[in-house]
Amino acid sequence: MKIKKVASELELERVVAGDEAAEVTGVHVGDLLSNVMSRAQAGDLWITIQGHQNVAAIALLTEVAGVVVAEGLDIDDDTIVKAEEKGINLYQSQLSSYQLAGQLYDLGIK
C-alpha cells in the first residue's frame, strides 16, 4: 500500500512529505536506535516516540518508507529540517505505537 493511502487511513498528520508514492511493505516499532538500525527493513513504516534529528539519519540509512512519531510527541525543528533536506516522509499521530500498529495490521500490512 502506498504511504499516502496509509497516512490517510490512519489519519496521520503530515509533517514532511517525501516520496508519498513509496510503498509500505512492513512496520517496525522501536525507540532504541541501535535496535531500529539493525531490525528495520527498507519499506517499513517506522513508528517511534523519538522526535530528535537522529531519527532522520536512521530513516535515511534504513530506507524505511516513512516515520510516524506517536503519542503526539514533539518533533524537533532540526528533525523537520533534516527530513525536508533528505525527502523523508515524516508524520505525527496522537495515537500510541500500539494503536497505530494495530490499525496497520488491520489494513493488511503484516
Binding site: S34, Q50, H52, I58
Partner: protein, 145 residues
C-alpha cells in the same frame, strides 16, 4: 592488514565528539558511494549498520576521532579511530546491555548497550585496540561475497 598497494581508502572523515547533529552523515555518504560502486543492497545494509554504530560511538563516548573505509581484495574495512578516553574493559563493553552512556544520551534512544554487539554481529572480522588515556581503534571487516 592496513594500507598496502591493494588497499584503497574511499572515505576518511573526522567525527566530532558530542556532535549529534551530524550523526549518521558519514555513514550516509559511504552508503551513497558504495551504491555508485555497484555494491549489493544486502552488503550495503550490513556496512551501514556497522558504520553508523561506529560513528555514533565516537560522537557519544569519545573525545573525537575519525571514520574511514578501505576497499581491500575481497573485503571492505571500516576503521574507527578516536583520541580517548579508551575502553576500560573491552570484554565488558561487548556484553549486551552494558553501557556507560549518560542518562541524557539514553533518553535519545542511544546507550542501550547494543551498539558494539550490532557491530560484532554484522562484521565478518573485528579487531579492537584500546588504551586508557590514549584512544581506541576498531577495524571491522566485511567480506565482499
Amino acid at each position: 592488514m592496513g594500507s598496502n598497494a591493494d588497499s584503497k581508502e574511499i572515505i576518511n572523515a573526522e567525527v566530532e565528539a558530542g556532535d549529534f547533529s551530524s550523526g549518521g552523515e558519514i555513514s550516509s555518504k559511504l552508503k551513497d558511494l558504495l551504491r555508485k560502486l555497484g555494491t549489493s543492497s544486502k552488503l550495503i545494509r550490513k556496512i551501514a549498520i556497522i558504520t553508523y554504530e561506529l560513528e555514533m560511538n565516537i560522537i557519544i563516548h569519545s573525545e573525537g576521532g575519525s571514520l574511514a573505509a578501505e576497499v581491500n581484495p575481497g573485503r571492505i574495512d571500516i576503521i574507527a579511530r578516536d583520541e580517548g578516553p579508551g575502553i576500560e574493559d573491552v570484554d565488558k563493553a561487548f556484553k549486551p546491555g552494558y553501557s556507560t552512556a549518560s542518562e541524557s544520551v539514553r533518553e535519545m534512544g542511544f546507550g542501550a548497550g547494543m551498539g558494539l554487539c550490532n557491530i560484532k554481529n554484522y562484521a565478518d572480522n573485528l579487531e579492537v585496540e584500546s588504551e586508557l588515556g590514549v584512544g581506541t581503534t576498531i577495524r571491522a571487516s566485511i567480506d565482499l561475497k
